[in-house]
Symmetry: D4
Subunit: 218 residues, 8 copies
């Protein structure tokens, strides 16, 4: 188990992270962490390692691209001083290029994506002890699908940056890949983006494995 | 223009036909035809051929499979005595096999699909003058996608029955195909099933062409 | 087809244009263009000419007169830098004179109407490539009706300005005229102003014809 | 003043009578008489002739034609045993022929209108002391308007029946006519049917005059 | 008839005047004058004297005392420049002394009442042609009731000021008195303050009589 | 303390008893006893005599007269088999005579009131051990007020029946009388019927005194 | 892993099982399994063993005691023909004795609890292949707490029956016990009954362990 | 009775005090004092000592700790200039340490609790005549429960400060203790904090006893 006693673990991202979390705090009573993978990760941490006293905070905001993250980075990340910072961003950066192809202002192309990520990561690494990067994903098994190809390219940026910044990398696309032989995308997400409980559990399992969570611990 | 003066044109189907139409009537004031392709077809008929006095009725019901159509066939089709009957069914028959793979009671396999269709068509042809069959569709350009393959098979049933029963056939899958070179599915339907205004217009244009609608008529 | 690849087409007007569009943006996902003629025009453009990548924006606001347009012209038109600008205004300028006859502050008389139009058109022509003017209309076949007479006078201003500013002119009153022999106004608009789907389709067809839309293009 | 002490005065009709009255009772506390002409008539009766103890009941139902009245006549009129019975019906019988021209099932043509009226009047006259007939109306000054012509024909039926059955006749069309020189229809009713407070006051004044209401009584 | 062509008549007061009027304007379409005596007065003016083109504005606000009127006097009265100004205030000034006896901050005693009235009347008389004062009232027939006694004292202030400022005086208490022999207060207002339709009609009749409204005019 | 261990105490009545109690049960979790005097009585019983395990049930229904009680007597009283039965009814029997004077069907005159009471009391005394009668009341200090006079007459019936049936009598009118020297009715009930918290506490104190509640018990 | 391919696993119980599941079906799209331990179990099954095609159904109903289960047993269990049946009941049977001590009708004492359980288990074992019994629990670490003592007694019944009927036993009380050294009950359930996400995860982990779920399977 | 004529009694605290009181005022018509112990105290004062004209104000705010009280002390206490000031705070200061153990920012430890209390009491004693301190409480009979132990420690601070500042002390924990022999906590508060009507009555009785309320006064 990689987390130490009393650490704060902050998740930031888009609607997949948000999942109706309490705003603005993103922590506290009454399902404040939302109902997605962040809440599952927290529930497994608290039920299995209560003695570690991990504090989980959810700062996901629906619809966000990396451009939006940059605008709220100071308040939602730097001021929070998290020990661990988990970032999953890029889905909307890509999706808008496909669902709103003619509104180019809404697109975040790959150069801006990478440059903005570098900028916010640089600022974050001064206040956090450990970074976790989750690739953006697309619940589409056809690797020749144009949006899947683009999402994979954005995912490659994340993989490259993870190496560069010594972050723990979680390849979410690969995590979903494991069920594609048995489950059609519609059984996980009607729009191939917003996962149901099964899909969020796939993300949470991938995260927990990446931090060496001990499933057999009582 | 194939419709004659004073004829009643009834549409039946699932959520793509329904589109929040007035229930139970499916016709009348205040956008009673819903906001999908049925309403577009009606608006073009009324604005271009008001002298024909075509009466359009919408009997779509969200979530319906052919099994559901059969249950309400007597009341919603036979009692209505439509001159023209347009049927588009099969999407949910297929979709449930992919989004709820383990709830097999909710699946309508291809034999039941064809047999039930035959049964209701037989009963309908006694009261209607002209049948129109629209294939079920899937807004997925990848013809090797498993759900697309299955949907195409159900579409083939429709094509066969159209020939057999001398119905006008509308190949909706082909209609969508025409924009796939330019538009990604997400620009037409987030879940690849429920079309936005552009998608419904594609369906309506296909229908209007099939009845020899004269676009240049003032 | 008069529009070129990648152009932005902005519609501004009153409730007939607005039709519950997304505010403030007036474009984007989830039926952001509203449910009136703007959405129909867009759906025909996207489904027929997807390769042109036309970006349609709806800036209609219910209840607006030309006086209201002037107040938001800088933000809603100039800043948007549209290639094409379509204006339909004047209905409320006239209507208030008839439904609220004693509240004269709410009336916009014909001189103010023309002068304000000139002012905003002058400012717009510097940023747009092509203007489209739609006359205000009144779904009243009786040309001797006092409000119809007044609306026709405001329409004449539009016709004059179209000539003067080299704008494409769409005579909406004439467009509705074509169905009056068959349909009573109440079949198009209960209050003779807010069109139902048939009425909005009449407006959309007139617009599409004016830009040389090819109905036979697949 | 034609009403006697302790009499019950029942109004029946369509939405113009209904006006959000309490259902099913149509009398009692909390604005149970609705907010239209029935409430105005009642308020003037109670405030001016409280000693007469007139009991006013409102049995209007929105959308009703004479065909609907017949269905609920036994329960809503005969069982109520009103001393005075006021009937205003026919607007929807005519309107549907103009706003839903192709749904002929919804039309009540003039023969059915007259025959049904005769039938319900015959049954009512056995239980009531005095009948009051209000013509259906259309707030349209142009007497050559097709729907106005039709409404006048239905009004003529009412006039004829009033004579035949010795009912007090109230010519509502004529009552509205008196303001047409000064007010455009839109100042009374946006859809030329549902009156605003001014329009309902015109109806109430006509009713009160017909029963010899003394305006100068303190 | 005391009002001249084209005059503006503004009503100000508390909840009895307010009656759910449109805010902030207090005039316009869609029952903007509320559903109390102001709307009845307007409806009788428009239906009987449409040629006078009287513009009625309602600036009543629920719960107001004269202290509240003073705060909004500049905006709601002076800026409006009404030809006629009708004031009914004082009910809450008195009522709070009886329903909230220990919250003395909420009470407006008679000296403050008179002084504040003088102050706002002085400012109003410079912009209006004619003042109308309605006494506050209490729908309580027992003249020895303590709150009735107090309300009568406030009413006496109004009577005195009416004489002093040459205003038309409407003795609303006396108007209600006329029905007390026949109707118990609960038949007009459950809380003896907020009138039902009958009560508002009593107020409206008193107002219309005071301006020499001709009930026999067609 | 007159109640014995384990007894069931059932309250029946109108809106003063109802106070938004849970329906249909009238007991259980989540403020099921409503927010009026029944809840206050229960809270004092449970907090002071928890060892007595008194079960309190509230069967009040807003708007009820004794005529309504009779209709639901079998289900709401007899089937409940209460040890103690507390009845407060008559306010609406009287009130309707004053607020709806012309709707005589809604009035319950004093003979029907007494006879119906006798009938239901006779049936109840077979299943209950002790009856408690609360007089109906009117929060009006003026004993010459016509509705107060009538309410006192109905109260006299209750007093007579209490003696006759050996019931505990609670003179609610007298209970309110005690505060009239200091508090105006509006400080207890805006409509002189529905008490605020102070008024309900007056009722509860009177009830608790009548059952010899020991206020000094810890 | 004890479940076989294609088996149906049905959960029945009270609010801890229900968790806002879809009614009446308890399975299907859109989070139909609710948001409690049933959904977590399902999500882990589907994401880890998709090839097993397990069908999970949730038939929990809030507030239920074993008495309520019996009433709906035929419809909700027997007709469903589940291969696996998981039962968790008894919390409300006990709780009502403590939160509603004087409403003894709502209590289900231990004899009725055991007898009813035997009855429904007998009927279920004929249609299911495997039973799973979860003890009722109380998130209260103090084993001398009176309600905890009682809940433990009901839990003992479950343990005994599990042995007798060869059911898989899950000791939920013990599962919660494991976190009590670190977490106070309020961190898992404000009312010590309804678990938050952490509490439901404790239940789900216990269930998954009991069926030999392989956490390391990819 | 310790309160004198015309005094203002202000209550401040957390959700137990708040109970849905009117905001921001905390006094006035329509149950402005909320539905907890403050309202009960007020109702007993007004119904028993109306001649004292006590003005009760409720300034409780749900979720508050002493840290929150300090922020609003100037506005909600000092500006109000109460003669009597009743403070009950500390429940959330303790509770957050147990229900959100890892969010340490939300905890108010005992030193900060005492110091902040001293600070606000010092400032309040300059404007008030009499202070009343209620200990925070926990409806948990087990005195060895960790949260009960902590709450008792915070209660001891209150007891000490009461002595030091000459405040009337109300030991709420002891007040609840008296019913624990008969009632389980769940019968008073599901979450052992928010009392039902019985629990609020226990608090109100304790308060009224502390001010020498005379229960026998009529």
């Amino acid at each position: 188990m990689k987390l130490d006693k009393g650490q704060k673990l902050l998740f930031i991202g888009d609607s997949v992270t948000d999942c109706d979390r309490a705003k603005p705090d993103g922590e506290g009573l009454f399902q404040a962490l939302g109902n997605g993978y962040v809440s599952i990760v927290d529930a497994f941490l608290q039920s299995t390692y209560p003695e570690l006293q991990i504090r989980v905070v959810n700062k996901g905001v629906s619809g966000n691209t990396v451009r939006d993250l940059k605008k709220r980075w100071e308040e939602d990340v730097i001021c929070q001083q998290p020990d661990w910072l988990s970032i999953m961003i890029g889905i909307n950066d890509v999706w808008r290029q496909f669902d709103s192809p003619f509104i180019k202002d809404h697109h975040v192309y790959i150069d801006e994506y990478e440059n903005t990520l570098r900028e916010i990561i640089e600022s974050a690494r001064k206040v956090t002890k450990q970074l976790v990067f989750l690739t953006p994903f697309y619940i589409e098994p056809n690797s020749q699908d144009p949006m899947r190809i683009k999402m994979d390219q954005y995912g490659d940026v994340i993989k490259r940056l993870a190496k560069e910044y010594d972050a723990i990398l979680i390849d979410t696309q690969q995590a979903f890949q494991s069920v594609f032989t048995e489950l059609y995308p519609a059984a996980i997400a009607w729009d191939r983006i917003h996962p149901n409980a099964t899909g969020h559990t796939i993300l949470a399992k991938a995260f927990l494995r990446a931090i060496d969570f001990d499933w057999t611990k009582k």
